[in-house]
Symmetry: C2
Subunit: 330 residues, 2 copies
C-alpha cells in the first residue's frame, strides 16, 4: 500500500535516482521530467521514508530533549520554544521526561542515543553531584549536548544558564531598599540551580549586613510554602519578607500568611521565582524573578544551529534574570 521510491520510478518511467533528485535537488532534473514525477508523487500520496534517508545521511534531523517534567510550567515553556524553533529548522523533537532517578535517566538517554538524534538538550536535569552525570559526559562523546540551566565540563557539552544567584540577590536588594531586614528564604535545594539560588540569597544577605542563616529547607509545592510559614510562626521569629525558590512555594506561603491574617505586602512581602503564569493568577499577584525560559531555549537552538554549520560556539552563555514586581511586594 505505502508507495516507495521504486514504485514511483516505475510509474513515472524513470530511474529511482531521478525520483530522489526530484525530491532533494530538483534543479538537477529537466523541468519536463520533474513535472512528470511530481504528478505521480501527488497522485500516489507518496510519503518519503526518513528512516532510510537517515540511515544513508547519518542524520535523522531529530533532537533529543530530556526534561525532568513537562508539567512544570517553566520546563513546558522551554520545551515549547525548543520545539517551535527546531521545527522551523526542519528538525523534530524527541521528548523524554526523566524524572529524578539516575537509573531511569540513563536508560532514557540510551534509548534516545540509539535513535541517532543529532543533539541532546537537557532541560534542568543535571544532578548537583558530579558523579551522577557521567552518562551525560559520555553522551558528549557521541554528539553535542546542550544543558539548559545547569553546567558541566566536558567535550561537546555546552550550557545556557540563567544567573540564578544574581536573581535572588537582586530580590534581596530590592527588599532591603524597601527597608525590610527580616528576610527569609524558602528552598528545596536538590537541583544545581536550587543551590545557586541559595548561594545568591546568602551573598545578598551578607552584602546587606543581614543574617544569611535565614534559610528554611521546605518541600516543593504549595505545602512547602505553608510549612515554611508555620515554622516561622511556631519559631516565634519576626519576619518581614519571604523569598521562595519557586512560584508555587511562594503561593503556598501567601495562602498560609493570609490564613493567619498577615497582610501582604503590608506585613510581609513575598517573592517567587520563575515568573510563571501562577504569579499572574495568584491573589495578590506575585512578584517573581523572571528567568527567561524561552530566551534560554532560543539560545540553545542558536548554539546548535551554529554548531551544525561548523561554526565556533561559546561553551557557556549566561543570561541575567530580572525581577518582575507585582502586588505581593511594594
Amino acid at each position: 500500500m505505502a508507495m516507495k521510491m521504486r514504485d514511483i520510478a516505475e510509474l513515472a518511467g524513470v530511474s529511482i535516482a531521478t525520483v530522489s533528485r526530484v525530491l532533494n535537488q530538483p534543479e538537477k532534473v529537466k523541468a519536463e521530467t520533474r513535472r512528470k514525477v511530481e504528478k505521480i508523487l501527488e497522485q500516489t500520496h507518496y510519503v518519503a521514508n526518513a528512516v532510510a534517508r537517515g540511515l544513508v545521511l547519518n542524520s535523522m534531523r531529530t533532537i533529543g530533549v530530556l526534561t525532568v517534567d513537562v508539567r512544570d510550567l517553566y520546563f513546558a515553556e522551554v520545551v515549547y520554544t525548543l520545539e517551535r524553533l527546531f521545527t522551523e529548522l526542519g528538525y523534530n523533537v524527541l521528548l523524554s521526561n526523566t524524572g529524578g532517578e539516575l537509573g531511569e535517566k540513563k536508560r532514557y538517554l540510551r534509548l534516545i542515543l540509539e535513535k541517532q538524534v543529532d543533539a541532546i538538550i537537557l532541560v534542568g536535569s543535571v544532578f548537583k553531584e558530579p558523579t551522577g552525570n557521567q552518562h551525560i559526559v559520555e553522551a558528549g562523546q557521541h554528539l553535542p549536548v546542550v544543558l539548559i540551566n545547569s553546567h558541566l565540563a566536558g567535550e561537546n557539552i555546552y550550557s545556557v544558564l540563567c544567573d540564578d544567584a544574581h536573581g535572588v540577590r537582586e530580590a534581596v536588594n530590592y527588599l532591603v531598599r524597601q527597608g525590610r531586614r527580616e528576610i527569609y528564604y524558602f528552598t528545596d535545594s536538590k537541583s544545581a540551580s536550587g543551590l545557586a539560588k541559595k548561594k545568591g540569597f546568602i551573598t545578598g544577605m551578607i552584602e546587606n549586613g543581614l543574617n544569611p542563616k535565614h534559610i528554611l529547607e521546605v518541600a516543593r509545592g504549595l505545602e512547602g510554602g505553608a510549612d515554611g510559614v508555620n515554622r516561622l510562626i511556631a519559631g516565634n521569629r519576626p519576619f518581614e519578607a519571604i523569598i521562595c525558590g519557586e512560584d508555587l512555594t511562594a503561593i503556598g506561603a501567601m495562602k498560609a500568611l493570609t490564613k493567619y491574617g498577615y497582610p501582604i505586602p503590608g506585613a510581609v512581602a513575598v517573592i517567587g521565582y520563575n515568573n510563571s503564569v501562577l504569579a499572574e493568577t495568584s491573589t495578590p499577584a506575585l512578584t517573581s524573578v523572571d528567568n527567561m525560559p524561552s530566551t534560554m531555549a532560543r539560545q540553545a537552538v542558536g548554539m546548535l544551529a551554529d554548531l551544525f554549520q561548523g561554526k565556533k560556539v561559546p561553551r557557556k552563555i549566561v543570561l541575567t534574570p530580572s525581577l518582575v514586581v507585582r502586588e505581593s511586594s511594594g
Copy 2:
C-alpha cells in the same frame, strides 16, 4: 569512532549475526560466546543504531504526539502521561506543537509521518470544521491515529473523549441546587470541545427552566474573564454565578469580581474547567470540572498497546468528568 556491529563482531571473533543475536535473542547464543560478546559490547560502549534496525523491522518504536501547545497545563499533563507510559513500553515520543493554523499542522503531520512513527496521537488539535481535518483522515490510511478530546470518523481513527457537555451540565445543576438561577457561561468556543461545553451549558439551563442565552463569548486568558465580568456589569444584568470554559478565564473573572467588591462565593459563585493547578493556587481556590487529562492519556496508550498486539479496540472511549468543589462556590 562510533562502534558498529561489524566492529564488535571482529573484536569478539564472531559473525555479525551472532552479535545481533546477543542483543536481541540472547537465549539463542551459547553462554560462553554471549559473555565474550557482551564483554566487548561493554568495553567499547557500543550504542545500537535504532535507525538501521527500524529500517529492517519497519518500526521505529516511536509515537508522534501532536498537541496545540504544551504550555497549556491541560495538554502538558496529557503529554507527560503519554510520554511516561510509552517509555515504559519502550516507545519514544516525537512531540510537535501544532498551534492553530491548518497549513502548519499539515506540514508537521507530514514531517512526522515521514519519520515512520508507529502511531499518531492528536491532543486537542482537531478543527471543529470537518473539512479542516482531511489530513488526519489521510494519516489514518497509513497508521493508527488516536484523538484525545475530539472525534472524527475514519478508518484507523480512534478517540478518547471526556463528556465535556456533561461536565458543564453538572456544574449548572450543582449551582441550581444551591439556589442560584442567574448563571452565566463564558466561552471561547473555537475548538470542538469548546462547542461541546457550550451545548452542555445550554442543555443544563433548559433542563432547569433557566435562560440558555446566558452565554458570553470571551477571549482566552485572564483578560477574557475580566472582560466578561465587565460586560455583565455594564449590561446591568443580575448574576449569581459564572461558569468558564477554562480555569484561567475563571480566575480572570474572579479577579475582576474582587476588584468590584463582589464577594466570592457570597454574591457570585465561579466555576472553572480543567481542574488545573491554577484552581488550587487561586484565591479563593477555584471550583473546577476535572476532565482527567492523565486518565485520557492512559486510555489512549492502552488502546494503542492493544492495537499493536492485534487486539480489537473500541472506536471511542468516553470518560465522565467530575466537579471538584473548592472555595469559589458553596
